[in-house]
Amino acid sequence: MSDDLYEDAIVGLAKAAHGAGKLDGADASAMVDNPLCGDRVTVEIKRDGGRTTAIGHSVKGCLLCRAAASMLGLHGTGLTAAEVTTNIAALDALLQHGAAPPAGAWPELIHFAPVSRHKSRFDCVRLPLQAAAKALSA
């Protein structure tokens, strides 16, 4: 049962690396890191009003981190700060209490359910979302 931390969906998401890379002419960017493990994520956004028109990310981190960044990339257009916050809350509820993501949350969130058994890895998944939140509020 602990076998599925790296289930195909997560590995696939990481390898797909949606939105990976630098963004030309970004309107805002933010870097967050986890000194405990050295992971570091930079997210760049372009926006129009309160919504993103594009997202790019550079991840120095583990596969879980890359998968989360890739999920972010999938939803990189038309994103609002509130939406990111909602998804961070849904992720936290999933990781900490195993709560199923509410309707409207990103469908890929559920792939991270197996991480809930590994407290030391929570931050790996949260990092890209935190960077996005920071960039959106910049």
């Binding site: 000194p35 405990l36 590994h118 407290k119 030391s120 890895r121």
Partner: protein
């Protein structure tokens, strides 16, 4: 409900041993309290089932050890009614905790700034401030002690001036048993913008302490005096107070990033926990906190109060004996120091050990200034824990009388 002392005693294997060849009457609890099975087992269980280094490790044992260590932090925070586990920095004990505070606050003190202590303090709440005085030129001001061994607040207003940055006092005296009245201290400190640190080494064994209700800024204590392991203690601090303190020790675990050119430190409490922390000992301390919390606190207090009364009235019958500290039961704990005319404390303690199986402590109790205040080289001290009995007090009183008859 009265405390079931006999049942309680069965939890402490050492109480039924005969270390000196006689039934043990352990009245040296203020030096180190004994450890119940629950705590011993918690440590052993950790070492045999969850042992690993904490943080950064992703394997199962490392995750378990980290959960156990952070769980212990939460248990200690709960014991202190702290706002958050992050306000609890583990140290090796009270002494290390006070040194950490002196180092951390010291970074913000200038020559002429004043730290107020009392004549009642343990060396561990004196020497760190003297060392800071040498480094930074602060002034140390000392609250005197009354005839009955309490901090004397008569001259308080004169001693706590606008230059005062910190008042650092013992919460309960390890010599006289006097409980410090904290509220006026906090009030006076606030009035001049000073912080308050309490040395809680002798307070925490008597049940949970509410640091928020006390209103202090920093609180230091040791595990081994509250039925926990050696080598562990904690400095609790308000978040913003800890945040302004630089680390005392450098090393693994307390950094954000290291290069040879520059190193950035982690946030509290990690900032103060350089190197592999005392993991199993923290687990033991957490278990000890939970063990104390599970006791019937009122019953314990009533039991200790009754034994303290019995001890004070029993000792009062010994000619030439003088109690150093409050002779009544108000505002004191079951720590009783005394001097017997013509009998050296070490002889008295030895006599009580050899002939009565009573374990006392004799000497200056790391409180030389207090001894000087009372014109003594030392005292004999009996100190209580919930597992003490009437028989312990009987043996004490009989032994002291006997020692006096034979040695004075």
């Amino acid at each position: 409900m009265a405390l079931d002392v006999q049942r309680l005693r069965t939890e402490f294997p050492i109480l039924s041993t005969q270390p000196g060849g006689r039934t043990l009457h352990y009245l040296d609890n203020a030096a180190t309290a004994q450890m119940p099975r629950a705590v011993i087992d918690a440590v052993t269980r950790h070492e045999t089932g969850d042992r690993a280094n904490v943080a950064r490790g992703v394997h199962a044992l490392a995750e378990r050890a980290t959960a156990a260590f952070e769980g212990a932090r939460a248990a200690v925070a709960d014991y202190l009614n702290a706002s958050s586990p992050e306000e609890v920095a583990f140290t090796s004990g009270t002494t290390a905790a006070i040194n950490l505070a002196a180092h951390g606050l010291g970074a913000h003190l200038k020559p002429g700034d004043e730290v107020v202590l009392s004549e009642l303090e343990h060396h561990s709440n004196i020497v760190p401030w003297q060392m800071l005085r040498e480094r930074t030129g602060i002034e140390i001001k000392v609250l005197p002690v009354t005839e009955d061994g309490r901090i004397d607040f008569t001259f308080f207003d004169r001693i706590v001036t606008k230059r005062c940055r910190l008042i650092a006092l013992t919460h309960v005296s390890n010599v006289t048993g006097a409980v410090t009245d904290v509220a006026p201290v906090v009030e006076a400190a606030r009035a001049v913008g000073a912080l308050v640190l309490l040395d809680g080494a002798q307070a925490v064994p008597h049940g949970p302490v509410d640091v928020r209700a006390l209103g202090v800024d920093l609180y230091a204590f040791s595990g081994h005096k509250m039925y926990g392991p050696n080598g562990i203690g904690a400095l609790w601090g308000k978040r913003d107070v800890l945040a302004m303190m630089p680390p005392m020790l450098g090393g693994g675990g307390m950094i954000r990033h290291v290069t040879f050119a520059r190193t950035a430190y982690a946030d509290p409490p990690k900032r103060f926990e350089a190197g592999t922390p005392p993991i199993a000992q923290a687990v033991g301390l957490g278990a000890a906190a939970q063990w104390v919390q599970a006791l019937d606190r009122e019953a314990v207090a009533a039991h200790e109060l009754r034994l303290t009364g019995k001890m004070l009235s029993g000792l009062a019958t010994v000619p030439g004996l003088r109690v150093i500290g409050p002779t009544g039961l108000q505002g004191r704990r079951g720590v009783v120091s005394f001097a017997v005319e013509g009998v050296h404390p070490h002889d008295l303690c030895q006599w009580l050990n050899d002939r009565f199986g009573v374990a006392l402590r004799g000497g200056h109790h790391c409180a030389e200034p207090l001894m000087q205040r009372f014109g003594l080289d030392g005292t004999s001290r009996a100190s209580l824990a919930p597992y003490n009995t009437d028989a312990d007090i009987d043996a004490l009183v009989e032994g002291v009388a006997d020692a006096r008859r034979n040695l004075a």
